[in-house]
Symmetry: C2
Subunit: 372 residues, 2 copies
């Protein structure tokens, strides 16, 4: 038996979907370096790549784009559940119930690509419906003539989105579409290993993504930047925070011991969409934070992680902070689907053991039992 | 790095909650052999034992029983979600959305015992509400003067339940309350490891329990018994089924290489609650199935598993088959809570790795990209 509390040193299977090169700073989707794909390759083509293993044969009117556009309308039964949720929930909290309500008996085992297209296409529709309802606004129906990213913004804001914002969101969704055997994907894989269905598994994945250690932190980067306020206050703010042993958000990652390639690409995207003053603040804070963190822990290989420039990009797109992690989930439905299909193709129940350290067998219940 | 696809040979942590002795046929809750606890110890006392580590100090009006009875009323906001679900869903499908809808921002990290009491107390209320609504029946409000098992039957059927049925359900819930690091508990543990909340984690656990390899099979035992119909048809039916390489439900378990202690106790409970003809059929089928399975695979240590007599007991209680796995979930909310508390007390993100076997880095996208 092999003991490993965080499973850091355990390989739970083989995967052809994505490679996270933690030492070299690589993220590769089926052989393609994400830095070569973004910006440029639309999210729909990334979905195609992740689910089929190869790029689509014709662009942009390829099969997956049509499939997703055709499946954006959510079933009325799930719309009713969305409309029954209390208004004003954190959208991430609502999204868990929304994802679950997509399953109405129609998502059996094994998962299929078609089920995945439904999941990927409908998640933004239902999320946008909830967010608008929480604000007292009527739902904006999806438009089949828009791409995935543009349509999400259309359904959220009810106005034709500006091209730089669409491109920025498209790039964000592509970069966040998959990332090896991360915690939410692992939770999904366990559900599939028990031969549960894609919606059940994705709901569990979302419940895991909700944890701030995994997906829930980018809005805290925005809060931190607000709190610092100006570049000339960054050094004292950061030193004070580190002196109190508090965390700086947006730095360090379990997998990457060098630059996170997504952070690099998102930094580039931020230049096209972020408010210049905000970007300048973020860059100044980043430089000081890295210097201070490295001064504090000279041996630690600490770098800017994906959350840092995700926050700057999502702010620039105009998304409210409470939608940062839900938008991460919108992106990750692609990777979740790909991993569900891969696990089902060569399935085995994931069932580890624990070392029992409780009282030894043989305790006696203190009172006589009626049944004995 | 250690490679293990099913994690069979991996210990993911230490736990003082329950010990599954697969070689010796033991299930121990915090030092107590479940065979010494059931029948006799009410589910509420098992909840106390699992969550606090020791038996309650006074019985039956002990703290946990009062806590659960006081928390049975579900918030109107979640009742609205339950009532918005389509009628006629498989209740297990509905239960996933119901569990999720319990979270309305009030279940933060870290999990607490009080959150667990809410989860354990409200799950049967909301499940019963959905089941009755699906049948066109008005909800039956919970009764604080009844125990957990009796109240569940009261809310389902709207009539005072008979004592043997209450005792049988109480025993079933106690026996199914926890079982080491099973797949659903592991999915929950991963969500907690990301510092997600108890409702998110339990929703993911339910999504995993839904898989027939884990929790979804006891109703198939009932279907199998129906299909066999009479003891004198069992041998030919079973031989024919095995000849077609099809599975016999209710036999074999990943952990147990000897008798599952729960199956033994449930067999005893079945004698007090099952229809005598049905029990006789089940016993005849069991004997023949074990003989045939052992003849087919002489080396395999195959025994009757927990699902087999679960089916007979739950039938005897009068529960419809579609409620078998949801009732398993009602029981397991106790173990899920205990494991969530234990994981949070010594937490570390669970994040394994996979071996990338896809195309090597360096593929070139077949068309020029607009962004390059």
């Amino acid at each position: 038996m092999h003991f490993s509390k965080g499973l850091d040193d355990v390989i739970v299977g083989r995967s052809a979907i994505s490679w996270v090169g933690g030492e070299t700073g690589d993220l590769v989707y089926r052989g393609f370096d994400v830095r070569d794909l973004v910006p440029g390759v639309p999210y729909e083509s990334i979905v195609h790549l992740l689910l089929y293993g190869d790029p689509p044969s014709a662009d942009p009117s390829h099969e997956v784009g049509r499939e997703l556009a055709a499946r954006r309308d959510a079933p009325p039964s799930t719309e009713r559940v969305v409309d029954a949720l209390p208004v004003g929930l954190p959208p991430l909290e609502a999204l868990r119930t929304i994802l679950s309500s997509l399953g109405t008996g129609s998502y059996g085992y094994p998962p299929t690509r078609e089920q995945g297209f439904d999941l990927i296409a409908r998640t933004p529709t239902l999320l946008a419906r909830y967010v608008r309802r929480s604000r007292g606004l009527a739902p904006v129906p999806p438009r089949a003539d828009l791409g995935h990213a543009a349509n999400f913004l259309w359904m959220l804001f009810g106005a034709a989105p500006e091209a730089p914002r669409v491109a920025a969101l498209d790039g964000y969704l592509a970069l966040l579409a998959d990332h090896g055997m991360n915690a939410s994907t692992f939770a999904l894989t366990i559900a599939i290993s028990a031969q549960s269905d894609l919606v059940s598994a994705a709901t569990g994945a979302l419940g895991t993504l909700k944890g701030p250690v995994h997906g829930g932190a980018p809005s805290r980067v925005s809060d931190m930047l607000d709190s610092i306020g100006a570049a000339d206050r960054a050094e004292s703010w950061i030193r004070d925070r580190l002196a109190r042993k508090e965390v700086l958000y947006g730095f360090g990652h379990r997998a990457y011991k060098t630059e996170d390639p997504r952070a690099v690409v998102l930094h580039g995207i931020a230049r096209s969409v972020a408010d210049p003053h905000r970007l300048a603040l973020a860059e100044a804070v980043e430089a000081i934070a890295l210097a201070e963190l490295r001064r504090e822990k000279p041996g630690a290989r600490l770098y800017t992680n994906v959350e840092y420039y995700s926050a700057v990009v999502l702010e620039g797109i105009g998304l409210p902070r409470e939608l940062f992690t839900p938008t991460f989930a919108v992106a990750r439905t692609a990777g979740w689907t790909a991993h569900a299909l891969e696990q089902a193709a060569d399935n085995r129940l994931i069932r580890p053991d624990v070392e029992y350290v409780g009282p030894p067998k043989g305790r006696v219940w203190p009172r006589p039992l009626p049944g004995h």
